[in-house]
Symmetry: C2
Subunit: 304 residues, 2 copies
């Protein structure tokens, strides 16, 4: 294979991490990211950056990992016969704002490559996406987020937004609650060069979407950061964060894969919200904003 | 089979529920249990009792369920060929105290029976146990809890305590953290009449252990309820409660089985603590009480 984005993409996620952290620190205005570097005993490691107790972000994590080594058994049925080594790099972003009027967001962009005994590339693909988990629904925010994603997708392929939007809804489903984690976004995995998009075009799509993260999310933060909220709003945010924890620990294939393959626990769990609440059998009053959000989470919606 | 404890045990757990709730309300002194009854669409239902925001208990759940119907596919490889219907009843107790000096406790006692097309009993067994999850370690409390269990076990079989203590340690292991959920107790499952204990003797063991729950736990509550604690102690409790959530959602076979077989979500999740905290990469100072607890959780200990 002549198309080999490994080094470019690896540099890209580090640069993006730096850019995102700088912008988030600027917006937060009070706290800074702390970086931990870690080594994976079997090969590679990562740079975890976490900001806590900021003025805007109660907990923000922007992690990059670059891991490689012998292919884990868990992955053998997903790759061509003869695959021996793997290389994976990616950036994961989870932002838990303090103000419950600002949604939590998650984004992830990753590249995976397998090689044979001699180092020849046998398979490689991209995955990624981003989604929004509001505590209170502002339709215009959902519209802005999805519109930004659709505009970027449309530059690359007319079918991507619709396809990856449905994929996202499907992925972030909490079957035990019969509800969706949030109001979606886009999600894609195992995407490879095709007749429609060659390798460079595909790579350009991934960079484009990754660069669309800040424009998709930050205007919502700016718009809602000054909104007043009550103790009850905060309690509701903490209860909904409980659903976020439930999804991540019960259903999220990324989290469970990380735990099974010996990923760094603290980096995997940076996605968990800072303060969470479980209230027994909460009944919402019909017509309240909390009830309205819960209704919206029962069925994916077209936001555009 | 002439030994059929189904009706007796079913009454027993309801009576025990009443007794435990009455005692806990008395000890709490401020709040009362609220009972919700629920129906399982496929047969049976339950009585869930929860007390919240008490003076002693931040959240206390004492649930009884009695479910029956067609044997779920998930269970078919655990029972004799020809099994068609099942009946299961049990009591589950999870107490999350407000004061971090009082440990969280969990107990469960259950009976399971399968019958063929004609209603003839093909197999039946008991399961249960109880365990302690402290936030701060008081060795004398651990000793009292385990001693109470051992004394009761010893009345029925000299080997039970040791066997069921090890089973408990083994069950409540959080492999992803390489630590145990708490300081153990006893756990047993699929226990049936044997040469050593006939049906009535076995039933008497289960009643004996279930009745030992209050004597094992309440003296600890009484001893610690007046202990002063700081905001930092409470934060530590909330962080450790995060580990409790992780265990329950990632590893607890009871929770995962309940979710898979369509149990009532609110009753299953009454085990989750009321307020929980995840702090990124907390490093404990060596020699502090928090560090000491964490060290103890790395390896099961003989408390007697």
């Amino acid at each position: 294979m002549s198309f080999d984005p490994k080094d470019r993409f690896s540099r890209f996620v580090r640069t993006l991490q730096e850019e995102i952290c700088t912008r988030l620190e600027h917006i937060d205005g009070t706290e800074k990211f702390i970086e931990d570097t870690w080594k994976r005993p079997l090969g590679g490691g990562g740079w975890s950056r976490v900001l806590t107790n900021g003025d805007v972000f109660e907990k923000a994590g922007v992690n990059v990992s670059q891991v490689h080594g012998d292919l884990p058994d868990l992955l053998k049925d997903q790759v061509p016969a003869g695959s021996k080594h793997f290389y994976a790099t990616g950036i994961s972003i989870v932002l838990h704002p303090k103000n419950p009027m600002i949604p939590t967001t998650h984004a992830n962009f990753r590249f995976f490559q397998v090689t044979d005994y001699h180092g020849a590339v046998l398979d490689q693909w991209f995955g990624g996406g981003m989604d929004l988990t509001p505590y209170y629904l502002f339709e215009e925010d959902a519209h802005h987020f999805h519109k930004t994603l659709k505009s970027e997708c449309d530059k690359h392929s007319s079918g991507f937004y619709q396809k990856f939007k449905l994929w996202c809804d499907d992925y972030f489903y909490s079957s035990h609650r019969e509800e969706y984690r949030g109001i979606g976004g886009i999600f894609f995995d195992h995407i490879k060069p095709s007749q429609e998009l060659n390798g460079e075009e595909l790579e350009s799509f991934v960079y484009g979407i990754a660069n669309a993260f800040l424009p998709a999310y930050l205007p919502i933060v700016e718009k809602r950061r000054g909104t007043l909220y009550s103790h009850e709003n905060k309690v509701w945010q903490e209860i909904r964060r409980g659903r976020y924890v439930e999804f991540n620990l019960l259903h999220d294939r990324g989290t469970l894969f990380g735990l099974k393959t010996g990923g760094r626990i603290e980096s995997i769990f940076m996605s968990l919200p800072p303060i969470v609440r479980w209230e027994y059998n909460q009944i919402l009053e019909k017509g309240t904003p909390e009830w309205e959000l819960q209704e919206v989470l029962k069925k994916p919606k077209n936001w555009l």
